[in-house]
């Protein structure tokens, strides 16, 4: 793997390799000294054209735990806000010797541009681009699901996929990079995905996606699910007539207290509730649901650091076949197995 731009073209083998490596990385987080020397002397730039404190500090923690030098480049208040182009910014970072660029951008495809052009030679990690993809979010979601699913099945996480797991993703699919990355990755890992949304918040062309589509959250719950992922919905969408009001949205597509009770009534005692954050409590998810024992919201945040460590490690040192970062069993890091587009 040279870059991590999307999950659409990520092979099952590569995805499982990232998840397995993340399992090893998570062990580091449990130590007293949460640090590995794996990326010592390497420079990771967090290039953020869009505010996202959560994702940025997650990547920062991941890089620092691998002993990389981290530079945070927030486009706001920098030369970018004075009109500097992506090309010039990329070439500047290249001249400074960045080994990896973690890019968050409001424009879909901006990470692809960095990877496909000769502006910079560094590894590119997509930390969320427009309404396109957010691959590390999907990987951390899959990591969280896999731990849960393996535990239920009484098997080890490492090496496992999500075969047979029923996942519902509800909310603003149209504008969601999280939904896109999850649909591709979960399908690759063998899960059955159902998207639940008002028709206005589903893209034209969604019928070609490898998932089911429903307009009715209650029917989806009744059909049985193992994981319920709620997506953030911006209240302002009602101003563009995507839905009539936040209250109507919440009644029809929000995971409220009644639907939380329905999980119990339907006998789904092991179903988890997920949210990529930040949550709109009372809109797409009720406080009771967000804070219930079913909720994996904080586990997702925790796992995010492990998954991003794995991604950085595999991109920056996987090809050089350095010694394993831990003394645990290390998967082979084949350098050519990726089908990642660039």
């Amino acid at each position: 793997m040279k870059h991590l731009l999307s999950t659409e073209n990520l092979s099952a083998a590569d995805a499982i390799r990232v998840l397995d490596t993340a399992e090893e990385m998570s062990a580091v987080g449990d130590r007293e000294v949460k640090k590995l020397p794996a990326l010592r002397g390497r420079t990771v730039v967090n290039l953020f054209f869009e505010d996202s404190t959560r994702t940025r500090i997650s990547f920062e923690a991941a890089a620092k735990r691998l002993s990389a030098d981290v530079i945070n480049f927030a486009a706001k208040g920098s030369s970018v806000s004075k009109g500097e182009s992506l090309k010039d910014t990329a070439q500047t970072l290249a001249a400074m010797g960045a080994d990896a660029v973690v890019i968050r951008h409001w424009a879909s495809g901006a990470p692809h541009r960095l990877a496909a052009t000769d502006w910079i030679d560094a590894a590119v990690i997509n930390a969320g681009d427009g309404t396109h993809e957010h691959p590390t979010q999907a990987l951390l979601d899959a990591f969280t699901m896999r731990r849960h699913w393996s535990k239920l099945n009484g098997t080890a996480s490492t090496g496992a996929d999500l075969k047979g797991m029923r996942v519902a993703i509800a909310g603003d699919v149209l504008h969601s990079r999280v939904a896109r990355s999850n649909v591709w990755l979960l399908k690759t890992l063998g899960a059955e995905v159902t998207l639940v949304a008002p028709p206005t918040l589903l893209p034209i062309g969604v019928e070609h996606w490898p998932c089911k589509v429903s307009y009715n959250l209650d029917q989806t719950l009744e059909a049985g699910i193992d994981a319920m992922m709620m997506l953030r919905v911006q209240g302002e969408r009602m101003n563009a007539s995507f839905f009539p009001s936040t209250r109507e949205y919440s009644r029809r597509w929000g995971f409220d207290d009644a639907r939380l009770r329905a999980l119990d009534d339907l006998g789904m005692k092991d179903t988890i509730i997920m949210h990529p954050g930040p949550m709109n409590r009372g809109l797409e998810i009720s406080s009771a649901a967000a804070d219930s024992p079913r909720s994996t919201v904080l586990a997702q945040v925790r796992n995010g650091v492990s998954v991003r460590m794995a991604a950085l490690y595999l991109l920056l040192s996987g090809d050089s076949r350095e010694a394993a970062p831990t003394n645990a069993a290390t998967p082979a890091f084949a350098s050519q197995s990726s089908k990642e587009s660039n």
Partner: protein, 441 residues
């Protein structure tokens, strides 16, 4: 003024029988077998096709205002090399071509350059703002003799304004060339709305935004008894609507670009803004419908929508990039590839859609004429057997934004005669035509 005499030997006239053409004093002086002229420069036409000079109904020359993108001089050099003897210069310059002064400036620049006829298109509304009619009559009466009016790039979306424009141009035999794009349905749109946009997370540009405007406009045209030209139709549904309108006898003509005849939105998966264009690249089904529509006459003409941009407007994020592609120097080859090599059209059909009909739509005298004795010698020679690989850096246009970069295409322009003067010889620029000096103000 003494233009040289040229004798073209044995070129297939419109792809038909090989004959000789004698070009003298700006006209076709003779046509037939075994012509002789002692003073003539002989050009071997063996294996070549002789066609009327192409007339582009849709060119962006960028001057005045964006001389960093293109000038009348560079754009018309590109046109000559591409086999054109006339281009319609779109109005979205800066200042906008919405007054007699600006269209006369563009017209004069064209004459000074001397590579092709430059026919300025006048804006329909002041500043392309869609609020009030520009002085269409003044532009029609100017030295530029504007007959085509367009806010191209922006749709005249106000139905009342569109109606008035259609009515008003009847006074001077004008035509409104509509850029059909319903603005509310395309706010922030980045690419064709469909399976690919869903995956790429780029805001969709629905076909219905184009088709609904065309449907409205053909009905308005019928109601007021005027003449409508639809710029760059890009969807199968648009072809259907134009076909329906023609069957009803509505005076509508339609144009398709070479790139919409060949490329699809699958290319956008690269996020390379060289594929960003307005209207957007559509699906394979649309491409097929456009080819069929052009072959059966539903679509009347090919227009390049040549839209050069400085590289910094394309070397950026997709959403930040400018829309448009260059096209003058690849148009002939792409049409040959998509329409002739597929067996959908003959070279005679090619002459109809690239020369005869475009000249009629634009009311361009002396262009798009048959290759007959006494007609103006706007003639091109094409080598249909040639194969070449597109290299934007070798083009005459200043724009490097060719979506055909690296692609091998058939057909090359060997010579272009403009008013009897060879602007292109041996596939290379020769010299421009020089207008006789006139004492005018």
């Amino acid at each position: 003024m003494a233009e040289k005499t040229y004798l073209i030997r044995g070129a297939a006239i419109l792809g038909g029988e090989a004959e000789d053409l004698l070009i003298r004093d700006g006209v076709i002086a003779a046509r037939g077998k075994d012509l002789t002229d002692e003073n003539a420069t002989v050009i071997d036409g063996k294996g070549l096709v002789a066609l009327p000079g192409m007339v582009d109904v849709h060119t962006h020359l960028r001057e005045p205002g964006r001389e960093d993108a293109e000038t009348v001089e560079t754009g018309t050099r590109a046109a000559a090399l591409g086999g054109f003897t006339a281009v319609h210069a779109m109005a979205n310059s800066n200042p906008v071509a919405d007054t007699a002064g600006v269209v006369e400036q563009v017209h004069s620049l064209g004459r000074a350059s001397g590579w092709v006829d430059v026919r300025p298109v006048g804006a329909v509304t002041v500043g392309l703002a869609g609020e009030q009619l520009a002085e269409l009559g003044a532009m029609a009466d100017s030295r530029a003799q504007v007959r085509m009016f367009s806010d191209d790039g922006i749709c005249v979306h106000d139905p009342v304004l569109m109606r008035r424009a259609l009515e008003y141009v009847k006074a001077f035999d004008g035509v409104v060339a509509q850029h059909a794009q319903e603005p509310r349905l395309t706010a922030g749109a980045q690419m064709n709305e469909g399976a690919v946009s869903a995956v790429l997370g780029l805001t969709g540009w629905p076909a219905v935004a184009e088709e609904s405007i065309i449907a409205r406009d053909v009905l308005l045209t019928q109601h007021v008894g005027s003449r409508l030209h639809v710029c760059h139709v890009s969807t199968a549904g648009s072809v259907e609507i134009v076909r329906w309108a023609k069957a009803r006898g509505i005076n509508v003509t339609a144009e398709v670009t070479p790139h919409h005849l060949l490329l699809t939105d699958e290319l956008v998966r690269s996020y390379d803004p060289v594929y960003k264009v307005n209207p957007p690249l559509r699906t394979d089904a649309d491409v097929q419908a456009l080819r069929d529509g052009l072959a059966d006459g539903t679509i009347d003409v090919v227009g390049t929508d040549h839209a050069p941009h400085p590289s910094e407007h394309k070397e950026c994020e997709w959403a930040q990039a400018a829309m448009g592609m260059t096209g003058l120097e690849t148009a002939l080859s792409v049409v040959q590839e998509t329409m002739i090599e597929t067996g959908l059209m003959t070279w005679a059909d090619f002459a109809r859609v690239t020369s005869f009909t475009p000249a009629v739509i634009g009311r361009v005298a002396d262009q798009g004429r048959p290759l007959e004795v006494g007609e103006p010698a706007n003639v091109i020679l094409v080598d249909p057997a040639a194969r070449w690989t597109v290299d934007p850096h070798k083009m005459a246009t200043m724009g490097r934004n060719s979506p055909f970069k690296g692609k091998e295409l058939p057909g090359s322009v060997v010579a272009t005669f403009f008013k009897g003067h060879p602007t292109v010889l041996d596939g290379k620029l020769n010299t421009p035509y020089r207008y006789p000096a006139v004492s005018s103000n």
